[in-house]
Symmetry: C2
DNA sequence: TGTCAAGGTAGAAGAATGTCGAAACACGGT
DNA sequence: ACCGTGTTTCGACATTCTTCTACCTTGACA
């Protein structure tokens, strides 16, 4: 059985399904489920090596990179690189394909756009960090308690 | 010395300075320093509780939320929430301000937009979560080119 | 000034993570 | 069929992370 395209991707969160087509972080509180799945993706990106791997793959000519190219960039052992690639794969950020001797990785199409869409509202012409009610007095407001 | 606004934020990466005003992940490989600093931010978001905290703060009325409100949402102890808020603070994602008895947190202005700008060339006006991301605004032409 | 509540710090226990070397697996070539 | 190279899996170990309880700091108010 092939390692890639097999059991790994079956847990793919499919970001778009999870957060809706364009549900920004700031519009309404994330549910426990949503935050768990989203955090899985961000955690995968929360390592310098993995982030750099992601960038190397994304910026590589043809949109894909061979593991052999990636390994040379770091001062890390082969198994370690392989481990990080697996984490990225299971987070749904990249996909791997074996062609002959080498394995090529590429960014999962649309996933970066989906992530960006989670972070900012769809129309980012101006940063709405200070709303019209930016001056709030001492009183505390109620939070839409989202059920633990 | 005040805890907030003091030693914590002095290590603030100031995302924009680090990755340039709009240096997407896919345009050129991240340097070791860039990936280290960026990973610090993503790692902070790589926890379900912290991601939910971020969302609760961002979506709260007035753009800020009191710690007392945040604590109620989770089934976690106060110190644990405080710890997660500190991580978010040191990552440059939120800022805290004490007003009277309560401490209010808000999203660091522009940080989410900067992150989104790292992920995609230019924050798209409409989110192309479906594969038909045909109208890519500017830059990044390599990715779609796939020669099998 | 004393007391109370909100929030932070300190230290510790248990789980998760990053890294390695050794071994296994998958190909291509001889 | 065998060997060599590229890649992944397997155990193992040190480090980091999440969470807790106990205690401390800050500010409001009588």
């Amino acid at each position: 059985m092939s390692k890639h395209g097999g059991a790994d991707e079956r847990a793919l969160p499919q970001l778009a399904d999870l957060v809706g087509c364009c549900s920004p972080l700031a519009r309404e509180p994330l549910s426990a489920e949503q935050s768990t799945e989203l955090a899985r993706v961000f955690k995968a990106m929360g390592d310098p090596v993995r982030l750099r791997l992601l960038s190397l793959i994304a910026s590589h000519a043809g949109g894909e990179a061979c593991v052999c190219d990636l390994t040379d960039v770091f001062d890390l052992s082969g198994p370690t690189i392989s481990h990080h690639l697996k984490v990225l794969r299971e987070a749904g950020l990249i996909t791997g394909e074996r062609r002959g001797t080498w394995v090529y990785y590429r960014i999962q199409p649309g996933v970066l756009e989906a992530l960006a869409a989670v972070l900012v509202p769809a129309v980012p012409q101006a940063v709405p960090t200070d709303l019209e009610s930016a001056t709030i007095p001492e009183g505390r407001r109620e939070l839409p308690v989202v059920e633990a």
